[in-house]
Subunit: 333 residues, 2 copies
């Protein structure tokens, strides 16, 4: 394991003299993360390897490991092998959570492919999710002090998923609850990715705070856009079972329709009671201002995220972090 | 966090002079583990706290944390606060796995109480299991180098559960497969408990190996007896949905009836095809030699486990480890 006291200030000239062109280290990292994720799920219990690789092969945007790598390099980290296992671990936390999420949602498509539960059944999907969580733990073991950062983010993720399931069940949604849910289930993990990248680079407390703020706001923006896409996209474009969130009364859709005081007799029940509630609400939302408003909110968050990393020295990776912020809000899948 | 270089040799006289009578430290530890498990599942997402405490309140034998504490003290550890979080974490790995196991098994009773999935439903049971896993991670974060031990045991546990589910599904069981399953799903965690206790006490490599062997064999014996109890006990005595393992064609029951080459057309199919297959097989096993043979095997393993810790200096805790070995094979629940 490489030492943590890597040089803190990026020196492009130095990096060129050591044979690393701008962006090259990052690309090496992304490739290595992909290879490591494939390698680490290897086991003689073949169904776990197959199911894990099935979901990994489907791709995904890899936004979280990208954020780890970019934060690390932007803050002066040069030992890419040192940061790759952490970046892979964070993507596997996300991957494990979607595998379990698909069980609860009865999702049949994920990233354009059949979900694990639709191929291997619920039992093996549950165990594959557990397996991926244990692999996170294995990958992170060497990092010592950073484990608490990822542990806390993973706890928040499970809490956020639980708050969401509770809100759906009780039909209680409000802007406040929606914000709490997405803060925990999505933004906390993004935040920890940026923080872990920064800490591994030996960043200062101020720099770590800046990256934490960046990651958290990107995470919020990402989830808001995800909820909008779930609403407006069809299954073919989105690559996962679209409308699930709406059908189950969770996510932005309900947030946008429910009054702050909505309860079991409020918006939630409209969704399940009418003949084709999805269609009705979808049309209502698509015609109203809710979606443009939410999209605007996501853009503001992304812009604030960019502002918070203003203190970073200019670099290829800083530019990429800025681009990532725009990509998160401008994407169509 | 206390230093790892605690004195290695137990000195009863010294411990008495510091105010700790034999057994007192262990009892303090057991109590502290219980309190810590209750405390660590506290969260404002109340359903997670309630469901977690529901399963914790049901008790259980706490064999795994007992093993951690006894190993630690028997090898000279004196700082009980140092070892308690690890002992609690290991019990929570087990607890998380039974919560998820009850989802897959449709178990309605666990430790004499309704299972989490039967009260809160599958979604919240799945999330509660995930939550408990994340709490393991949180509790273990400060231990640094020991995380890989528990990570590997947790991976083995999930692999063992998966092998079992695969064997059930394919109707393929043999002594070899049964041994592989129980080695991973049960014995690996027992082993890691004993090893972690020993390592935290600053034990020598030889002592760690001895405890590893002890833990692994106790784990095998424990699972064999568990499978026998599942077969012979009724739900009232056992405190969990009895016969589940048999009904689903897993565990010792099928191991005992299936020929080494049994496949989908073999013993497994007998279980699901006949009118009351459980009764038929149960009677067959109870009348045959399979159960006495398996019980004898468990006794041999427990005896070997005791032999492997022969090198430990005499102490209250060594005696307790010996007693634990007997308890594991002589228990009726």
């Amino acid at each position: 394991m490489a030492p943590q006291n890597a040089p803190r200030i990026v020196d492009e000239a130095m990096r060129t003299t050591t044979g690393t062109a701008p962006g090259e280290l990052f690309q090496q990292g992304i490739q290595a993360v992909e290879e490591l994720m494939y390698a680490v799920v290897e086991t003689d219990v073949s169904i776990l390897t197959e199911a894990s690789r099935h979901i990994l092969k489907a791709g995904g945007k890899r936004v979280r490991p990208r954020m780890v790598l970019l934060s690390y390099i932007a803050l002066g980290g040069t030992d890419i092998d040192y940061v790759v296992p952490a970046a892979a671990a964070i993507e596997l936390v996300h991957t494990a959570s979607v595998v379990h999420d698909d069980i609860n949602d009865h999702g049949v498509l994920r990233r354009g492919r059949p979900s694990i539960n639709s191929i291997w059944g619920r039992t093996f999907a549950l165990l594959t999710g557990d397996f991926l969580f244990t692999k996170v733990y294995e990958l992170m073991a060497p990092y010592k002090d950073l484990n608490i950062d990822l542990a806390e983010a993973t706890i928040a993720l499970v809490e956020g998923e639980t708050l969401q399931a509770s809100a759906v069940k009780e039909g209680k949604f409000s802007r406040q609850i929606y914000h709490d849910i997405i803060s925990r289930k999505t933004a906390a993990l993004f935040r920890s990715g940026a923080v872990i990248g920064a800490k591994l680079a030996g960043a200062s407390a101020k720099e770590i705070d800046a990256l934490a703020d960046y990651g958290f706001k990107i995470g919020l923006a990402f989830q808001i856009i995800d909820d909008i896409l779930d609403l407006v996209a069809d299954a073919e474009t989105l690559g996962k079972t679209a409308g699930i969130d709406l059908e189950q009364g969770k996510g932005f859709a309900v947030h946008a329709t429910a009054a702050p005081t909505a309860n079991a007799n409020g918006a939630g029940s409209n969704i399940v009671d009418s003949g084709d509630p999805m269609l009705v609400i979808k049309q209502k939302l698509l015609q109203g201002d809710a979606i443009p408003e939410a999209r605007q909110q996501a853009k503001v968050l992304a812009s604030q995220a960019v502002d918070s990393i203003d203190l970073l020295p200019a670099s290829f990776e800083k530019d990429e972090l800025v681009k990532l912020a725009h990509l998160v809000v401008d994407r169509d899948h």
